[in-house]
């Protein structure tokens, strides 16, 4: 009897409490969810904020758009390399074997780095930027060539769709960087140092890379737009491409009324850089970096960046949309002075 009363009381209690408890549970779960999402987003923001240093010298020397791509290293008596069909830079008549196309075409980056030394010592910002690219490209290999080879073997044994292309890309790095050793001290710290040195000296691509990494030369609010304007005026395709992962890109695309899905922002921007003359061929540093650093490799070894993106990244029905955006970016930044259009 007592048990029955208990059951009755218990049962009626559950009937009275449950709807409120469920509502409470839902509300609290939603709050927990919101808090969690906020904390993750906040963390990401914090990471971004932490990466922005407060510069003590915001009035860093700005680049002179009249001299992109030139540097005193061209005076060195190095043998002239044939850059071949890669020479299609819009804003840079770059036939210098130590210039940007020389870097792309070099089969021996140790030799290239050695020949770049005089210009680097002379304080040439373009040389500093080119050296930062050499160090960035070769650091993974040079730190431990044996470990690099082990990783290559590991990746070759893994069941990867683009294993062949990845193997070829890693082989290219091992070949081009083969004369570097751990004693050369190639590291990310050195890349950062050279990049900043180049940017402070006036290298537009280096400035663009710093901005994209959240470490701009100046923290003034109009600096990103001013940099984009200078890059557009100089028609510097490499600098334009270096901006592709900048947080400002969505806003810039929006300002130009280019409605591109967020996941295609960076690749749309990079494709515009390719069309403006950046080296985006099958064996380019860009394709090698995407493949080796990012695991984003084409299964077709003959594809350049643009072909690869249209083949593998963008759904067929979205191609026209992206193509229109790329055309608009090239039209706006690809040669003629900004503001003249």
């Amino acid at each position: 009897m007592q048990a029955g009363q208990d059951n009755a009381r218990h049962g009626s209690g559950i009937g009275r409490v449950h709807p409120r408890a469920i509502a409470l549970a839902c509300a609290c779960a939603a709050m927990t969810l919101a808090l969690w999402l906020w904390s993750v987003g906040d963390g990401a923001d914090a990471a971004g904020d932490a990466a922005v240093p407060v510069l003590s010298a915001p009035a860093a020397r700005l680049p002179d758009p009249a001299r992109p791509g030139s540097h005193p290293a061209s005076d060195t008596a190095a043998p002239v390399r044939r850059a071949g069909p890669r020479d299609r830079t819009a804003g840079h008549a770059d036939t210098d074997p130590l210039g940007r196309r020389g870097l792309d075409a070099s089969d021996d980056l140790f030799d290239y780095a050695q020949r770049l030394q005089p210009a680097l010592r002379a304080g040439d910002p373009e040389a500093a930027w080119l050296m930062s690219r050499v160090v960035d490209h070769c650091a993974g290999y040079a730190a431990d060539p044996a470990a690099f080879a082990r990783d290559s073997a590991l990746l070759a044994a893994a069941d990867l769709a683009a294993a062949r292309t990845m193997g070829a890309a890693r082989g290219r790095i091992a070949s081009r960087c083969g004369r570097f050793t751990p004693a050369d001290g190639l590291s990310l710290a050195r890349v950062r140092m050279l990049r900043r040195q180049a940017a402070e000296g006036g290298s537009l691509p280096a400035e663009a890379e710093l901005l994209a990494r959240g470490e701009p030369l100046s923290t003034s609010s109009d600096y990103p737009e001013a940099l984009l304007e200078r890059i557009g005026t100089a028609a510097d395709a490499d600098a334009f491409g270096a901006l592709s992962t900048a947080v400002e890109v969505p806003r810039w695309l929006s300002m130009l009324d280019l409605d591109v899905a967020p996941q295609y922002h960076a690749i749309t921007w990079q494709m515009a850089a390719c069309r403006m003359g950046a080296d985006c061929g099958p064996d380019s540093l860009l394709m090698t970096s995407y493949c080796v650093n990012g695991g984003i490799c084409s299964r077709n070894a003959g594809q350049g960046f643009e072909q690869f993106v249209y083949d593998a990244a963008i759904p067929r029905q979205g191609v026209d949309h992206v193509r229109t955006a790329v055309d608009a970016l090239v039209d706006r930044f690809g040669g003629a002075p900004w503001g003249s259009k």
């Binding site: 408890a21 549970a25 779960a29 990471a47 690099f148 050793t181 996941q263």
Partner: protein
């Protein structure tokens, strides 16, 4: 009567926590666990813990992310810039990181304050990473 109310409150709390845990789990954050066979032997991953320098952690996380993309079948759509991941290092320590640039060797940045040691205890949020320059070997004159 007092016991009954307390019991009911605990029951509500239990279901509440269960529901909240389910909600968080359902959202899903990609976890790259160095204990997985695919990542365990990668050279940039194997020696790294949450106590390593930021450069080493960036490289290790980027190498795991590259492997993840390469295995995904849709590499462009995997771990795109802005994606938040949880990385578990070989010793069990872990942290959240954010993808910044898939094409860069250090295209991943740790999120400050999310580092936890192998016993899942939070590290000091303000802990400074060792200077990256210490990782570099003495340079040959070539790059001086």
């Amino acid at each position: 009567m007092g016991f009954e109310v307390t019991r009911r409150r605990y029951a509500v709390l239990f279901w509440l926590l269960l529901f909240a845990a389910y909600s968080v789990a359902a959202i899903g954050v990609t976890v790259l666990d160095a204990g997985d066979k695919a990542y365990a032997d990668l050279s940039q991953v194997e020696p790294v813990t949450v106590h390593a320098s930021e450069d080493r952690r960036n490289l290790g996380a980027a190498q795991m992310a590259a492997m993840y993309r390469a295995q995904s079948g849709a590499p462009f759509a995997s771990l795109t810039p802005g994606t938040t991941l949880r990385v578990v290092w070989p010793d069990g320590s872990s942290e959240y990181v954010v993808v910044t640039n898939p094409a860069a060797s250090d295209g991943i940045q740790p999120i400050p304050g999310t580092q936890r040691d192998a016993a899942d205890r939070p590290l000091d949020a303000g802990r400074a990473a060792p200077p990256a320059a210490r990782d570099a070997a003495p340079a040959r004159p070539l790059l001086d």
